[in-house]
Amino acid sequence: MNLVQLYTTVSRNLNEQTPAFYPTAEIIAAINEGQRLFSLLTLVLETQQPWTITPGATFFNLLPVFADMIVPLRMSDVAGAKIRPARLEDLTSLDALWPAAQGPPFRYSRIGADLVALYPHPIVTTPLFVTYARAPHALVNDTDVPEIPVQYHPVLSDYAVNRVRQVEGADALAKTMPLLNGFLDAAQACGNYVRARNRGSQYDVQPFEMSAFDRSQLLKLRKDLVPARTPLAAVE
């Protein structure tokens, strides 16, 4: 499905033959949000890029190099040998002077959103390859196609219906919660597939454990919080 097919589907599911109350721009924003969340939950989009390390430092920030990175999955040297992951505590146990150790790196530690420590740190300019999960490119043109696997394209329109209903809230939003649940089910299925694949590929990070997340509060609106707006009937 391309973008025009997606937002047309969403409009029709919202009972609009031509966008009026729900603007096309808002629907497109909702589809893009759905794709970002799907990619974040599943890590389904990945890429491998070269990374040239300048010598003299132990800690590096990756986002200035890979701006669309969600999380690094694997590092390897130019020969393809894996640089193994380690926690900072592991590195300290391995070598009490590890921040000062020099040489070709064979361990790395992933810290926070984009900080990485290399052990040892190289003393000459060293190329590495970084495989990382990335964020999707935004859908802008009508012919743009979502990057997530094609079988999951329909759940993007489901997600978008749920999101644009947030403007109304109350029952209008509550009725679309099964669509959000379907989206999360799809993300769980895709995440399970990616997890199995990542284990086979010996990647260092697995997708989010959707099965361990309690969705019950997410998928229902609190009945005790009634909308504060005055109902139209009362105004009339």
């Binding site: 969600i70 999380v71 644009v164």
Partner: protein, 216 residues
């Protein structure tokens, strides 16, 4: 393509019931300044709930006699610390609480030497201790205190809204704006959607905790 929270502002006006960004700008009950304030609060909340804003900091200098040191602004916690004396000479510091320091050495406040431990609750004698870390023993040589710290990001505001995190986090901030704006007491309040936004944020926080580590 880092996360620009300004994108969240243009992403919420429709869901807040405005006809356009200009309509939002003209609103009385909510301003862009309010929304930036909500984004800033969300960033600070995220710094406490998820280990996402970790940075390498080498801004703290130590000298002969240094015991207590002032931590960098926005410091939340330290994950790793060592002293770099230069020329490849370093000493990794063990993070130790004050109770353990007293157990180790009743006269720890007066001992000088090469620091091997760092305490965050010892504070300077006579001070409250917040924002201060204490080297044990007090340093006798100059160097640099290098730390991997969790730090609250700079204040999010108009013109300074970019955070060095993955662009997917933009939607976390979008829901933070919705959560706060729709919970405001006004004719436009939609508390049930605000509560739903809170649950959406909880999902994002769980994801960030798995990928980037826990917070405090």
């Amino acid at each position: 393509m880092a996360c620009d929270t300004a994108a969240s502002l243009s992403d919420v006006w429709y869901r807040l019931g405005f006809l356009s960004q200009a309509d939002l700008n003209a609103a009385q009950w909510l301003t862009s300044g309010d929304l930036y304030q909500f984004a800033d609060e969300a960033a600070k909340r995220l710094a406490w709930t998820c280990g996402i804003f970790k940075v390498f900091d080498s801004s703290v200098a130590i000298a002969n006699g240094t015991g207590p040191v002032t931590l960098p602004p926005g410091h939340v916690f330290t994950a790793f610390a060592y002293i770099d004396y230069g020329a490849g000479v370093i000493q990794i510091l063990r993070l130790t609480n004050v109770e353990q320091l007293y157990a180790l050495d009743a006269g720890w406040t007066s001992l000088a030497g090469s620091p091997t431990r760092l305490s965050f609750d010892a504070g300077a004698p006579g001070s409250g201790g917040l924002g201060i870390a204490t080297l044990y023993p007090s340093a006798t040589a100059s160097g640099s205190l290098n730390q991997v710290i969790q730090q609250t990001p700079p204040t999010v505001q108009a013109g300074a809204s970019v955070l060095q995190v993955t662009p997917c986090i933009q939607d976390y901030f979008t829901y933070a704006l919705l959560e706060q704006a729709l919970a405001k007491e006004s004719d436009h309040a939609r508390p049930e959607v605000s509560a739903h936004a809170t649950e959406r944020m909880r999902l994002y926080e769980k994801v960030f905790q798995q990928y980037y580590g826990p917070g405090m």
